[in-house]
Amino acid sequence: MIWLDEKLFLLINGLAGKSGAFDWLMALVVGEQFIPVAMVMVLVAMWFLGKDAVRRERNQRAVLCAILGVGFACAAVSLINEFFDRLRPFEALDDVTLLFYPPTDPSFPANTAAVGFAFAMGAWFGNRKAGYLLFILAILWCFARVYCGVHYPLDMLGGAAIGILFSFAALGFLRLIEPLVTFFLKLARIHYLA
């Protein structure tokens, strides 16, 4: 499994350095600003849009689920990092092309994948189109992390699984505190913000 993971990493990272334009694009989207801000903007649009009040409320509940899911997923990744320390590919392997600064935290699981997939899954619960758009952004982000030499593909799969799993956990938790969610949305509606 690890062997296959490293092979796949070397295959994807081996593409780096061959096209200046593609390297520039990957270096642009690999960071913590480009895609996360775009993802949050999709959630903001979801919050305000909807064909009618019912669909808008469904969107807003999905946005809350996505935010909570990201929080849960980040906490889970931090916890796993305490017990499991996998070296980054540029630390463990030779001939890695690094197009990003060398992070110091453990490689597995990838926090970026957990965040991206938690956003996407949470949004998908309320709005399929927005969910698919966010899944595409999350996959692009994950690919860029591997391409730029920061993560192994397995780190991404682990992070994605955590993101998706904790989005379901967030959905269940929101159902558990349903009166509080309804109260929050009602409060926002009274102030013309939902």
Binding site: Q33, V37, V44, F48, L49
Partner: protein, 130 residues
């Protein structure tokens, strides 16, 4: 870097909110009398914001002047809040004479912003409750 990021989020959010106003026909939070102007403004602000922010390499670790994860989140929320407040205030100012606060119908929440500005809606709510 922090100020740049805060500005970037605010600019992009401001543009997105005008897109949302045009798309969702929320005329009360739109800055413009025509929807296409809202789309144009959104396109300029979002693409301009991204181009301006990423004109230089932003892949900097927090140990060398970059922003750490929790602070990225804090600045994101702050930038979004600034954009929302600016949108509500500016749209209320430029459309002070536009709204129909006395029109019939018991719409609630964002639906109200299709017929009046945020400030008009707040004033109407205060008047009804007093």
């Amino acid at each position: 870097m922090e100020v740049d990021y805060l500005l970037f989020v605010s600019i992009v959010s401001l543009g997105l909110l005008q897109f949302v106003a045009a798309w969702g026909r929320l005329e009360g939070i739109s800055f413009f009398p025509r929807r296409y102007l809202g789309y144009l403004f959104a396109a300029v602000m979002v693409s301009g914001g991204y181009c301006w922010f990423f004109r230089i390499d932003r892949n900097v670790p927090d140990t060398a002047g970059g922003i750490s994860g929790p602070w990225l989140f804090a600045y994101l929320v702050a930038g979004l809040a600034i954009a929302i407040v600016l949108t509500l205030l500016v749209s209320s100012a430029v459309k002070a004479r536009w709204g129909r606060p006395d029109s019939e119908g018991e719409q609630r929440g964002l639906e109200v912003l299709k017929r009046m500005t945020f400030i008009q809606a707040i004033i109407r709510a205060v008047q009804r409750n007093s």
